[in-house]
């Protein structure tokens, strides 16, 4: 239903310029461009992410509407997720600071998880875009780089706000020899975070679509299941690493 209501909206937006030819259903690197003044946007990413965020919000709102001390139905699931995220952030960030960062870590986890699974489970192909196709928003490099840069900002902010300029002691601990490596780390962290997620999800989508092209029935199923597994793992890895980086930044050496 939601798809059908959103589609006219997508078509009403400025028409895409890129009209690369379709290669028998397998499209790589084609986007459904929106133009906002001088800006170019990947419309398919926003459309699918809005749908998935909508689903996430619907679940959250439905589950938190009537919360009881004895949890029922959806509240159980939400509390399980909450507890899971709390344990994850408490383990990585530590007792002192995890409360501030738990919503961020949890949002990353839930958003990536919904994007990954949504990309695999929702039959996006039913919707035809003039160019490109709907899919997991995390299979687009913009989304993963955006989140990886947010993580970088988050751990810098966490370190600076908690320790002030003493945060930079971290770069010369335990010895000043570490300085170049730690500086390089600040660049490799977002790079590895974004490319790991992007590569895994894109590779999964490509493998499945190639298999579907070759043998449309049953054969892609094991690969799809594996894809679901890796998707969940990737969400967990991203959230855990984000929490770990923040924990590293707020960690007190001489506590």
């Amino acid at each position: 239903m939601l798809l059908q209501t959103l589609l006219p909206l997508a078509e009403a937006l400025p028409a895409p310029q890129s009209m690369a030819e379709e290669t028998h259903g397998l499209e790589v690197g084609q986007h459904f461009y929106w133009h906002l003044g001088p800006l170019n946007l990947h419309g398919q990413i926003f459309l699918s992410s809005w749908i998935l965020i909508g689903a996430l919000l619907v679940m959250v709102i439905a589950g938190t509407r009537q919360m009881k001390r004895k949890p029922l139905g959806l509240q159980n699931l939400l509390e399980f997720l909450w507890d899971y995220i709390r344990n994850l952030s408490r383990e990585q960030i530590g007792e002192a600071a995890y409360r501030d960062w738990m919503p961020f870590i949890g949002t990353l986890f839930l958003f990536i998880f919904f994007c990954n699974w949504g990309g695999a489970l929702v039959p996006w192909r039913l919707v035809r875009l003039p160019s490109g196709e709907l899919g997991a928003p995390t299979a687009d490099i913009n989304t993963t780089v955006a989140m990886a840069l947010l993580v970088s900002l988050a751990y810098f902010y966490a370190g600076l706000s908690r320790k002030g300029l003493r945060y930079f002691e971290y770069y010369v601990e335990p010895t000043p020899i570490m300085l170049p490596f730690k500086i390089v780390e600040d660049f490799t962290k977002p790079l590895s975070l974004s490319f790991r997620l992007f590569g895994n999800i894109l590779a999964d989508e490509l493998t499945v679509s190639v298999l579907v092209l070759l043998v449309p029935l049953f054969v892609p199923l094991p690969m799809m299941l594996l894809g679901l597994f890796t998707s969940a793992i990737q969400a967990l890895i991203f959230a855990t690493l984000a929490a770990y980086y923040i924990g590293e930044a707020v960690h007190e050496e001489h506590a």
């Binding site: 310029q17 890129s18 690369a20 790589v28 690197g29 084609q30 986007h31 461009y33 906002l36 800006l39 170019n40 946007l41 990947h42 990413i45 926003f46 992410s49 965020i53 996430l56 919000l57 959250v60 709102i61 938190t64 919360m67 001390r69 949890p71 509240q75 939400l78 509390e79 909450w82 507890d83 995220i85 709390r86 738990m102 919503p103 961020f104 949890g106 949002t107 990353l108 839930l110 958003f111 490109g132 928003p137 687009d140 490099i141 913009n142 989304t143 780089v145 955006a146 989140m147 840069l149 947010l150 894109l202």
Partner: protein, 155 residues
């Protein structure tokens, strides 16, 4: 890396896998907004409920522990009382037994005494009768002796 930058700087219509553009900052803004929304709609309310329940469980646990301690105290008390009662009962039983014993002994002594008295009386009676019988025998023997003497004299 080089091809990535080339792709990123390529004309818009080209597209490509590594096509970085304004999607990136907008997606970042979207994720930040989502963080605030989820914080309000999910993390805060669920956290409140879970922590309230954890508090409730902790308090209930403490209560239960206190009550258990109370019950154990009461049980100890009752055990003590029971022991006391048992001791008292034993004392009463011992007393009763002792009383019975003394009564038994007294009765036995009395019975023995009366039996001895009876025997004494009977013996005295027997002795009396024996003496009497002897006297009678002696008288009769004398008479017989007299008779014999007379007969002999007459002959």
């Amino acid at each position: 890396m080089i091809s990535w930058f080339l792709l990123a700087e390529a004309p818009v219509s080209e597209g490509g896998l590594f096509d970085l553009d304004a999607t990136l900052p907008l997606m970042a803004v979207q994720v930040v907004i989502l963080t605030f929304i989820l914080n309000k709609l999910f993390f805060q309310p669920v956290g409140r409920v879970v922590e309230e329940r954890e508090g409730f469980v902790a308090i209930s646990h403490k209560d239960a522990k206190e009550k258990l301690a109370q019950v154990q105290g009461l049980e100890q008390d009752l055990k003590l009382q029971l022991q006391q009662a048992r001791q008292e009962a034993q004392a009463v039983i011992a007393e009763a037994e002792a009383e019975v014993d003394t009564l038994h002994k007294a009765a036995l002594g009395e019975a023995k005494a009366s039996a001895a008295k009876l025997r004494e009386k009977d013996r005295a009676e027997i002795d009396g009768q024996r003496a009497e019988a002897r006297e009678v025998l002696a008288v009769e023997a004398r008479q017989l002796a007299d008779l014999i003497v007379q007969r002999l004299a007459t002959v």
